[in-house]
Amino acid sequence: MSRCSFKAWDLLMLLFVTLLLFCFAFISMEHILGQKCIPGERLTSVESCRSGTGTYQRQGYIFASLTGVVCKEEKETDLPILYVASRHKAQSVPEVGNIVTCKITQISSRFAKCQITAVNNCSLAHAFRGMIRKEDVRSTERDKVEIFKSFHPGDIVLAKVLSLGDAQWYLLTTAENELGVVVAQSENGTPLTALSHNEMQCPVTHVKESRKVARPQKEHIGFPER
């Protein structure tokens, strides 16, 4: 008799533990949101979330790789994305497809070289070197592009990262209407105003200079956060 009750008790315990584990699996993710974490801390399992910035996956779990606060981004169709909000800017190196702000440093007949100073509206502490080749300046009539009619040294240009390039240069492109020169100075040093997609004018001398002008876009207007 006693043996039988012992079995029943065991079964009850097992049920209880399973229930507890289930509860824990559901609660655990909510429990970590808004918590501070350091690199290497286990956040949750891959079944409940996808891994976002500042996290990595290992052995079926999501771990933090940055110091900061754990946040969740809800998705309608997919699992929510778990990420770590750090006090540093999310972007510290340019990646393929990013919109970058750069300053032209040197031009030649085949390419323009530039310094990448900001990525996706995040200013970089150290500038990276970039290059816009002649064939990547615009999408139409690519063979008739002349670099000196598109950029001048000192121009501020919005461009997109085409590839990581070689050891020295990131390859950039301005072959979109929204990309190109946004800030430029005339020969006497006054800021130029844009006239059309390929012309800018000096407000003082009324001299027209040719540039690959970017179409002003609401989301690209503004200054990088400092």
Binding site: K36, H126, L164, A167
Partner: protein
């Protein structure tokens, strides 16, 4: 006589007056099993860690281990040099330096061989923890300066460097903590040795006391993954003694995790307050 205004007008090399006295053989453990500073052999010194001490650097950490004081600063990720090849993985540059005034003997301004060797060990420990594939074509610079060397400077540096990387927002698999143990013959293990207790080859004959096992072991550990990422062993240690020492270092480094975590979390809090 022509003088160079850019140089200090002091002798290039100087000697510690103590080194001119006849060498006094000191026993590191007295009859009550106490060490020279009153600690027992399995007693570590207190550790103090603070992030964000160097304002110019992207991330920094100050570490104090007894009298040992270390500052580490991290810069980057930045563009690699012109002559480097293309690589999809980032690179870490690590420079370990004793300040000229940090040791009992004057240290030069230019890193010497022993400092270069320690730099390599620290680099090895950090490379295991940093997610280098997140930083293609980039360079992360780590500079470590020992302000005062009272033993275990390497382990203090490794812990400080990892916390500085975490403070700089560099992605890491785990933080790195490190600890040292001095093996002092006859089964004596001195945890967290001071500079007097650190292993010197010339001590070997005078204090061997029949046991050949004398040396200093430093281990760097990824505490949450529980993986050893660097081992530095000086001196003469038998295999089983070395294994035991490494295990001892591992558990000591594991104990540092709480302090390191607390330090990083407090730096997050101070940032929130600044924003608010």
């Amino acid at each position: 006589m022509a003088t160079d205004s850019r140089r200090l007008a002091v002798p290039q090399s100087s000697l510690d007056p103590k080194s001119l006295c006849p060498a006094k053989v000191e026993r590191l453990l007295n009859d009550e099993e106490q060490r020279l500073d009153g600690r027992y052999s399995s007693e570590s010194r207190g550790i103090y860690l603070q992030c964000g001490t160097v304002s110019q650097a992207k991330g920094s950490c100050y570490c104090e281990l007894g009298n040992t004081k270390v500052v580490c600063s991290v810069y980057g990720p930045k563009d690699v040099e012109h002559y480097e090849d293309f690589q999809m993985e980032g690179k870490i540059k690590c420079e370990f330096k004793y300040a000229p005034f940090s040791c009992s003997k004057h240290r030069g301004h230019i890193p010497d061989l022993s400092e270069a060797e320690i730099s390599d060990v620290i680099l090895q420990a950090l490379t295991a923890s940093v997610r280098l594939q997140c930083y293609p074509k980039s360079l992360i610079e780590v500079f470590i300066i020992v302000l005062e060397n009272d033993g275990s400077a390497v382990s203090a540096s490794i812990t400080a460097a990892s916390l500085a990387l975490a403070d700089a927002g560099i992605e890491q698999y785990d933080i790195v903590t490190s600890a040292s143990v001095r093996v002092y013959g006859n089964g004596n293990f001195l945890e967290d040795p001071t500079s007097v207790e650190e292993y010197r080859p010339q001590d070997f004959d005078s204090e061997s006391g029949g046991d050949l096992n004398h040396g200093l072991v430093t281990v760097a550990l990824l505490p949450t993954l529980n993986q050893v990422c660097a081992v530095l062993s000086n001196g003469h240690l038998e295999c089983d003694v070395l294994v035991e020492t490494i295990q001892m270092c591992t558990s000591l480094a594991q104990n540092l995790y709480t302090a390191a975590r607390k330090c990083l979390l407090s730096s997050v809090k101070s940032v929130d307050q600044n924003n608010a």
